[in-house]
């Protein structure tokens, strides 16, 4: 269906601008919802695993904080009565009987989901090629990956199929796809958003957050997601309310650039964009200094023990008994049913990580791997504490490369894992970090990561907003 010019123009504006237009009576929420739903259903990039068949008869009132705007939800968030499959064949067709708290809070604030987005199976991957429902294409260049694991959420927002989206980040799964797709992605402090109803990957690391077209949008969406939840005993909420970011200068702000995460291994195009962004920060009044996170080079090792170990435990629940698909064994045995269900239900990467985690936790290896990784985690936490005694924020490239070609890394798991080295340390420390676009390298978006101490979301969002205004990147650049 052809969409009116005014709606096409509205889709290129940010969610914050759309809400203002709806509340001023200048934009029709239903017409906008219809347009997003149709664009999601057309889905040239395979970003969606489910799209609402029609616009709800009644949308939330324009006077609600989110004014009836749709939101795309990563597949792994349980949404009552809507397929929630975490990118897995094992959960194909699963219709949860309840809704994740983060999603319910957005509904309560006046949003409605128009679609669920594709992802790496159980959020395990950095390219969105590990989905049982097919790879997602990058709207900036469909021969390339959108990043992962929240690749469908990022592709949907970048292509104008959703004004914004929910993602989850375990080791970079919000920030890296946001970087690859020219968007803003925020991983908040661990515990700020409830994990209730998120199909778990690694519970001590998983955190939900927004993927948006502007820093103000990220602040607005997070403000309606965060909060302590009696159903998640690790949730604590933020210590202060999220403010709408308005900062336009960085006067007095001390930004540290860790040598370990910004030197060796960063592609020249990414490095040039990163250095240009640091110059912008300097021009806005920030002081830039080189700092050290001496244990950061070991963060990936610790992460690829801890995350698979937690995953191997979390994914033991997928046994064909309570939900998901079941395959009976030829011998009719119970153990055989478990084994066949899991063997045929899980994809290759999920099996690899379950194997890795099971090995790391098995008798005789626990101390050498899991115990040691937890000690390395302590060292990483201490490194950040030292750094934040010298600087206010830390800046790094979000990823060492721009979006790569489909298939480029899928046959070499280790090389895929190594691409996470700029984002994993913050995940291990549980601290908040945002990725904003710093520019283009060879026509592809580059992400700048800003990280701060736990609960410094307002500081991060303010600084990111000032830089965003100075950089002037067009996040609608891939909307056709």
């Amino acid at each position: 269906m052809a969409q009116s010019e005014s709606i096409t123009a509205a889709i290129k504006t940010t969610a914050t601008e759309q809400i203002a237009a709806i509340q001023a009576g200048a934009l029709d929420a239903r017409e906008l919802f219809d347009a997003y739903r149709e664009r999601a259903a057309a889905d040239p990039n395979n970003a969606f695993t489910w799209v609402a068949s029609e616009t709800p008869a009644e949308l939330p009132a324009a006077s609600t904080p989110l004014a009836g705007l749709p939101v795309a939800i990563k597949d792994l968030f349980c949404t009552e009565g809507v397929p929630s499959q975490s990118g897995s064949k094992l959960l194909e067709g699963y219709l949860p009987p309840y809704t994740a708290t983060a999603v319910q809070k957005l509904i309560d604030a006046g949003s409605t989901s128009h679609g669920k987005t594709n992802q790496d199976e159980f959020a395990m991957g950095s390219s969105n090629e590990n989905s049982a429902f097919g790879a997602v294409l990058n709207p900036w260049d469909p021969s390339r990956v959108p990043g992962g694991s929240s690749g469908g959420s990022a592709a949907a927002v970048a292509a104008g199929q959703a004004p914004w989206a929910l993602g989850t980040d375990t080791g970079g799964s919000i920030r890296q796809p946001a970087a690859f797709c020219g968007l803003v992605g925020l991983k908040p402090t661990y515990g700020s958003v409830s994990r209730f109803g998120m199909i778990a990957f690694a519970s001590s690391l998983d955190q939900a957050g927004p993927i948006t077209r502007s820093v103000a949008d990220a602040a607005l969406l997070l403000s309606h997601m965060e909060g302590k939840d009696p159903r998640d005993m690790t949730s604590i909420g933020l210590r202060e309310p999220i403010e709408v970011p308005t900062r336009t200068d960085l006067t007095g702000l001390r930004i540290g650039v860790p040598e370990e995460l910004s030197g060796e291994g960063i592609d020249p195009g990414v490095r040039a964009s990163f250095e240009a962004a640091l110059e912008q920060a300097k021009a806005l009044g920030a002081t830039i200094s080189t700092i050290h996170l001496p244990n950061a080079p070991h963060a990936l090792s610790a992460y690829y023990v801890l995350a698979p170990a937690e995953a191997s435990s979390n994914l033991s629940r997928f046994d064909g008994v309570r939900y998901g698909n079941r395959l009976e064994a030829e011998d009719g045995s119970l153990i055989g049913m478990y084994t066949r269900t899991r063997t045929e239900g899980f994809g290759a990467e999920v099996k690899r990580r379950i194997m890795l985690g099971t090995y790391a936790l098995s008798a005789g290896f626990y101390d050498a791997y899991y115990g040691r990784a937890q000690q390395v985690r302590t060292k990483i936490v201490e490194d950040f504490a030292d750094a934040f005694s010298q600087v206010d924020l830390i800046a790094t490239p979000t990823a060492p490369t721009t979006a790569y070609e489909l298939g480029a890394k899928s046959s070499d798991p280790l090389s895929m894992y190594l691409g996470d080295f700029c984002t994993v340390p913050m995940s291990l420390a549980g601290i908040p970090a945002i990725s904003i676009p710093s520019g283009l390298a060879d026509g592809l978006p580059v992400g700048l990561q800003l990280a701060g101490p736990a609960f410094s979301e307002n500081l991060i969002l303010g600084a990111a907003h000032a830089l965003e205004q100075a950089i002037g990147f067009d996040t609608a650049g891939a909307i056709r």
């Binding site: 090792s301 064994a329 090995y359 798991p413 190594l418």
Partner: protein
């Protein structure tokens, strides 16, 4: 680092079955990843406490008051096989 025999043992613990031709490639992939992870052993971690949780949480116990649970038929609705009162599985004795 991890050989085919260990891979088969771990697969059995994880309730996964590997086709014979997939065992050695899995051993090779896991060995390559574990080879990277082994770099941790160069760190002196004597006396370093392990971190299990990064953000301090207190008072996580809620009041012991019963809330309405999911109705049984709703909780059972997504099971591959169930009766009116519970999940059905093959007999462990089979």
């Amino acid at each position: 680092m991890i050989d085919a025999k260990q891979v088969l043992h771990v697969a059995r613990l994880a309730r996964l079955e590997l086709a014979p031709e997939d065992v050695q490639p899995m051993a090779d992939e896991l060995s390559s990843i574990l080879g990277h992870i082994e770099q941790m052993s160069s760190l002196d971690l004597e006396g370093v406490k392990p971190t299990t949780h990064v953000v301090p949480v207190e008072g996580v116990l809620r009041a012991d008051e019963a809330e309405a649970p999911l109705p049984r038929e709703v909780a059972l609705s997504q099971a591959p096989k169930h009766s009116e009162t519970g999940f059905l599985v093959p007999s462990p004795q089979a």
